[in-house]
Every structure is written in C-alpha cells, then in structure tokens.
Symmetry: C2
Subunit: 457 residues, 2 copies
C-alpha cells in the first residue's frame, strides 16, 4: 500500500498540492477534507457575479469535486471538518457535517499532512452584525446569499464597510446593480497597502462614480427594521446612514488555530510559520495558502499576504515535494496585488511605503511620476501614475505602485526587478516593448526609474 | 571657452545625447547637424497619422527645433549634412542644404563626436519604383506625401510590399482609410523576427480583416499608367495585381558610410561597432541609434536591432559620459518589440526561434501555450498564445513571444527575465499581479514557464 497524503482544506493551496502530488505519484493515496461544499473556486470572481457580469456561479468553479474524484483520483471529502491534529500519532480527527455521507467522527492516519485551512473574513463585534442583510464577505456561498437578498428586498442603498480591494470591488458591483453605494473606511485612506498616491486617485474616482465616500470614519454598528433586516449604518458621531444592505470587508485572519492547537509554530503574523519548502515546525506537517506565512523577497522575512497565486504555487511545490521526496522551494512573494475599481486600475508590489521601508532597515528614496499609458499622441492614451521606492544606499529597488485607467499590469516589471534584486540603474536599462498603441518610448516604469536614478546620484 | 560636442543626426539618439550633455554641463557647446527638417519626431506614429487617428503631424514632433535651440540651448542646425569626418584633425565637413541659412561648405571642430546618422529604408531595385504613388517608408515627410497622393488621386487599392511591422501597420492604416489592401511578403511568413506562432496568428487576422495576403511571393516591379502613376504590382509569375498606391517597407539598413569612410570600424551587421559605452574604434568618436550596434543581452554579441528605446537610452548615456567624463553604460538590448495589426497585438523578446538559438550555441527547448488574457470567466477575456524558449542545459530563459487581442505587453516580464539571466524555474516563481479583470491566477507567462519547466526536468 502507498503512503497517505492528507490535505486539510480544499481551496487553492490544498487542491494544487493534492493534484500535483497525485500526478507525480499515482500510487500515493491523497485524501482532502474540505469543511464546505465548494473546492477550487475563484473567490476573486465573486464581486463580478454579484455585479451580474458573470452569469452562473458555476463559472467560478474551476474544477468540480467530481473531476477531482474521477479524473484526478483524489479522495476528496467535502463537508468534512478536521478538528484535531495528533502529530505524534500522525493522524487527524475528522467530523463529518450534516450533509456528509459519513456520520460519525473518525480518525485518519497520514504520512504527510498539509494544513491549508485558509483565512476567514474578520467579523468585527459590531452591534447588529447579525441582522439580515449584513454580509461578511468570504466564501462563494455569500454571493448567492447577497443576490437573493437583493432580489427579495429590492434594496436600493448599500453600505460597504472597509475600503480594501474587496470593498472597492463590491462598491463597483452594487453600483452596477443600480444601488446607491456608501463606503466607510476607518483609516484616512482606502487601499492602505497600495500607498497614498494610489489611494487618493482611487478615492477621487470613487467619488466621481457617485460613491458616497466616508474616510476616517469608524462604524459603530448597524440598526435594523423591526422585521430584522438592516436599515442603517451607525457612525461614531451618532449619525445614521441608511443602508438596505451592508457588506463588511475589513480584512481576513489566517485560520491557524488547528495548527496552533497541535503545537505547530505560529509566526508573529498569526499565520503558520513555514520554511522555504512549506514545512512547519513539526515533522511531516506542511502548510500553505492563506493560513501560512511566506518569505517576502524584499525583506527576506516571513510575512502574511494571503493571495491566490502564492497559495497555488506553494501548494503545487509541496505536492511535488511530498510525492517525489525532492524538496521544492515554495518561492518568495513580493505582495504583488492589482485591483480594478470601476474604470480605474491600481497595482502594487514590494514595499511601497517609505515608512515601512525605513522600519525594515532601508534608507528609502522614492519618486512619483505621471506619464501617458501609450504614446501621448495615440488615441486612448490616459494618465498613469508610477511610484517607485529604492534603497538609497544600495540603489536596490524596494517596491512600487501604479494607478491609471489602463496599463497597471506593468507592475509585473517591478515585481520581476524585486525578485532579481535589481538596482534602479538596472531597472532603467531593461529593454521593454514600445509601439505607440502600447506604451510611450520610455515605458512608464523606465521613466520612474530614470527619475529615481537621478535622485540617487 | 568650453569643449565642443558635435552630434551628427537629430533624431532619437542624437537629440537625447545633445539634451543630456547640455543638462549635465551647461558650459559645453553642443552642435547638432541634421540633414532633414524634422528632429526628435515619432516616426513610429506615422501609420496612425496616415490612418487618420492623429490629426496633425505636429503631434508627432516631440520637441520642436525652436525648443531645442531656445529652451535647451543646443546649437541645432537643420538642413545641414555632415559629409566627412576627419578623426585626426577632429573636425567634420558640413554641407548646408538649399533650405539652410548658411550657403557654403564648412568645417566644424569637435572635442567629442557622436555619429547618430540612423538607418534608411531599403529601396529594392524594382523596375518602376520611381513611379508616382510608390512610397518607401522612412521619414515623417512620407506621411504627408502619402496623404496628399491619396487625396489627389482618390486611390482605391493599395499594395504593401513587405510584411514587417511597418507593412502591417500601414495595411491597418490604409484599410482604415477605406482602401482595399493587398500585402506581399517574399518569405513564407510575415513578422519574421516574431517567429512562426505569432506570424500565423497575424496572417489569419489580416485575412479576416480583408487583407489580400500573398506570402512566399516575390514582387518583380511596378507598372504605371501613361500619366506616370503606379497602377499595378508585377509578380514573378507574370501576374499583375492592381494598386493605386504602393508602400514599400522591406526593412532598413544602417547609415554607416560616414563612419566607414572615416576609418571607423563597422561590425558584421553593417552597423557601427561600439563598446559598452557607445565608443567607436576611434578616440572621441561615439555612435548610437539605428546606425550603431548594441550588445544583445542573451548572446552577449553585438547585434543591430534598430529600435527607438535603444537609441534614446544609448544617446542619453553618451551625452552624460561626454559631459561628465564618467563613462555610462549604454545598456544591452534584448530585441524587444511589439506591434499592433488591426485588433491583434504581437510581441517578442530575446531569441524566439529555436534554430537561431542553436546557432548561438544553446540547446533550445520551447513550449507554446494558449491561455486566457484575463480570468476565463471575466468579460473580455481572449485567447493569448505564449511561446517561451530556454536553454535545455542551463535552464536559462532565452526569449519568447506573445500574440493575442490584449495583454501582449507582458512580454516585458520575459524581457526582464532575460536581463536578469533568470532560469525558467526562477521565472515561474515570480510573484506577478492577479485579479480577474487583468489576468488568470497564473499569469500566462508563468503558465508558459510552468509547462516549459516540466519539459526541462
């Protein structure tokens, strides 16, 4: 009999690991326990389903449970929650949910275990958060619940709590559905990890699009109708802002309790600590995805930035390591992110904020430039703002951001420079593609590097 | 009195060098001789002017001669041709044209000389090439001449000779003006430097757009009306294809005669040989732009790929070196290029062709993948084809290409990998930006690297 690889959690990291392991070693028994109903779904597509741009929620399911079971030969058990890990006995305790075929709690032995329990949306202890019509965005299930609620109540006003990317995408989605949208952000700016230049551009754009934007505004709770549905957002200063539906998107926290309870080391970020190969502090236990830390390519330190690509990649590397016995690096991450809000795109990578760069021990020097997204004479050219941050001493690129109506995917060039450890000078010398419909002669990233290079001299 | 920096040629390389030198050292006398009327114009924008998407040709002039003279304090002399370089005497002989203020041939001494004479469109010795209505694309002047001819003759059919990027852009332009367009390419494919996968996609697209495409077809010459205007393209097999206007775009050749006559070394490519700083074989003589070689970052060999960014960058570096006395590297080039033909984009960098890679001493392994330009469920996602070539022995990335309706600017990620000397494995681990409106979770470049990595193992 082959070895058994047990995976806890059937999302990006878990299913990537399971699939890769089975492909590399078909004799390996691969068992995946997933608490919920969906596996391998594109949660990132949810706002566009709510907006109505994606017809069926099935389009967001990348691979069905049946395909995993039948085509990939993975023993996938949905509606099964792993409630305990016994690392000494090398087994997990599993509780089947009401919808599962099995009924009794059981144990499952493993030779290798992957903890890929993901992250959960933070539910702030707001009075009224339990009201009908208040949704905390996390799983795909929420999308249908939101759509049903909108259809049943004919909601006309929406409040979004939290100006992160989920909040902004949901503002676009609900505006697209014809609702009047208010957005509340506790901090002075939206999109905090993107830095101030991106934030202010996005804020202006949200206001232009008719979003009722409340920055620096703490939400106290929610008030309801006597029927139980939400009717308003209560602010600290006593003001009440009417809202027929509320979306709470104030961030996520890693689901690291299962690991913590089993004596597995959890890092300062609150996520499971791992080495370069995704191994935890306990032998034969691996961790990846939104519940785990990853190494930041700029600082070299463990960090927690829950993003789909990092999860996929780490899962895949671990699946290969488990199946082949040859350790694969999970790869560093640069915290590269991109978001669309209405007609504006924003992206970031590495360290965008001078203060954070100084905290990490660098001597930050930054520039921010405005340039055209295409040749300035070419139809459709729009303004693009690029921020670039470098270490004054070594000249090394630390991070950057872009914001504009098109062309923000060129953040990938800066991300590539971070991975390669390039200096500003090296970045400036990259031979990037130019033709009038695509770029100015000097790509905006090169122009930023050119200007920053001048400041570093 | 300060030193004198003489620049021959007032386009990208020349004007970048002149401007940078003057900025770095305002006491330096900077004299630029330009044979023609325009300086610092965006020749790349010409097809879009002919198409009618750009209203005025003045939009293509980035900086006017007056601005160079008055704002930048550069002694710019248009309509002045440098006909001889005497490197021993450190002087050039200059012939003013009929439009110049000066009238007599004179000499100008230099302390440093930059030869930035550019490249000229190749004029094949076709019988009939002198006919009215046959245009060989090179300078901005042609655009007005073409527009005038179209207006005067009411031309209805156009023939393009040459399927390079200029040919394809002019096919789009003339089709946009309502002409029936036929395109003739001598080789089996258009866009030869982009490789076969890009070429066939572009060919299908051209045909879809109604272009009458003739591959593998040698043009013999042109026939004219008795009034002197062109009326047809004559093919090798005797066929005559009617054409009221003809655009010849079969490539460019470096203008290296001036350097060659002065005893300056010209490389195998026919362009002026330079070192990493743009210095020629003769002291105090520099060269940059379309007349000069540059170092290819993949092969490390001198190569001639006349592109605007390389010219700008090298000019700027030389200007700084001359003004400060501190040598600046001109930077390598990867032959990165991008082109739009109707609704299709194509891009390439490095070595795209396995045969050429083998010739350069590599052991090429390549993959070609099809993937979506955005998350596959997101509106507007279209198919993107990525080709990636690596060296089988070292795993090093050698080059790649993309073709699709959007997203081909991500060639920059591969170009960055080439500059950094990344392996396929390193490329695969880049943390690139993902959100459904911009990319699949695995960016198409990463997917190509993942598949190529599997082949290399």
């Amino acid at each position: 009999m082959g070895d058994t690889f047990v995976v806890v959690g059937g999302d990006a990291a878990g299913m990537s690991a399971a699939s890769k392991a089975k492909r590399e070693d078909p004799d390996l028994d691969v068992v995946v326990f997933e608490k919920g109903e969906y596996v391998s779904y594109a949660a990132c597509g949810m706002p566009y389903y709510v907006k109505g741009e994606i017809e069926s929620i099935d389009d967001l399911v990348q691979i069905t449970p049946e395909q995993f079971r039948e085509e990939r030969n993975i023993d996938l058990r949905t509606h099964h929650e792993v409630v305990d890990v016994d690392a000494d006995a090398m087994e997990v305790t599993v509780e089947p949910g009401p919808d599962a075929a099995a009924e009794e709690t059981f144990t499952q032995a493993y030779d290798d275990l992957l903890i890929a329990t993901g992250a959960s949306a933070i539910e702030p202890p707001f009075p009224g958060i339990e009201l009908d019509g208040v949704f905390t965005i996390h799983a795909l299930d929420e999308a249908d619940a939101i759509n049903d609620y909108l259809a049943q109540t004919g909601a006309e006003t929406a409040a979004i709590v939290g100006g992160g990317y989920v909040g902004i995408e949901m503002a676009e989605a609900l505006d697209g559905r014809g609702l009047d949208v208010a957005l509340f952000e506790m901090l002075p700016h939206v999109l905090q990890p993107f830095g101030e230049s991106v934030a202010t551009a996005m804020e202006d754009h949200l206001v232009d699009q008719g979003v009722d934007l409340h920055l620096d505004t703490a939400v106290e709770g929610f008030s309801g109708h006597y029927e139980g549905g939400v009717k308003a957002v209560d602010l600290e200063d006593g003001e009440q802002v009417p809202a027929d539906v509320v979306i709470v998107g104030v961030g996520v926290a890693p689901n690291s309790d299962l690991a913590d309870d089993a004596g597995i080391e959890v890092g300062e970020t609150g996520a499971v600590a791992t080495d370069d190969y995704g191994r935890t502090s306990v032998e034969h236990v691996w961790s990846a995805g939104d519940c785990a830390e990853a190494t930041h390519v700029v600082t070299g330190d463990p960090d927690h930035v829950p993003l789909a690509l990092t999860a996929n990649r780490a899962g895949r590397a671990i699946g290969e390591s488990v199946a082949t016995g040859e350790l694969q690096e999970t790869g560093g991450m640069a915290g590269t992110a991109i978001v669309k809000g209405f007609d504006l795109g924003a992206s970031r990578t590495g360290i965008v904020d001078e203060e954070r760069a100084a905290e990490a021990g660098f001597d930050p020097v930054a520039v921010e430039i405005q340039t055209a997204s295409r040749a300035d004479y070419y139809p459709g050219a729009t303004e693009l703002t690029v921020k670039l941050v470098a270490d004054g001493e070594s000249g090394r690129v630390l991070g950057g951001s872009l914001v504009g109506r098109e062309g923000v995917k060129r953040i990938d060039t800066i991300a590539s420079a971070l991975h390669a450890g390039m200096t500003v000078d090296e970045l400036e010398r990259l031979d990037l593609a130019y033709a009038p419909p695509f770029s100015p002669t000097w790509d905006p990233v090169l122009t930023a590097a050119k200007v920053l290079g001048g400041k570093l001299e």
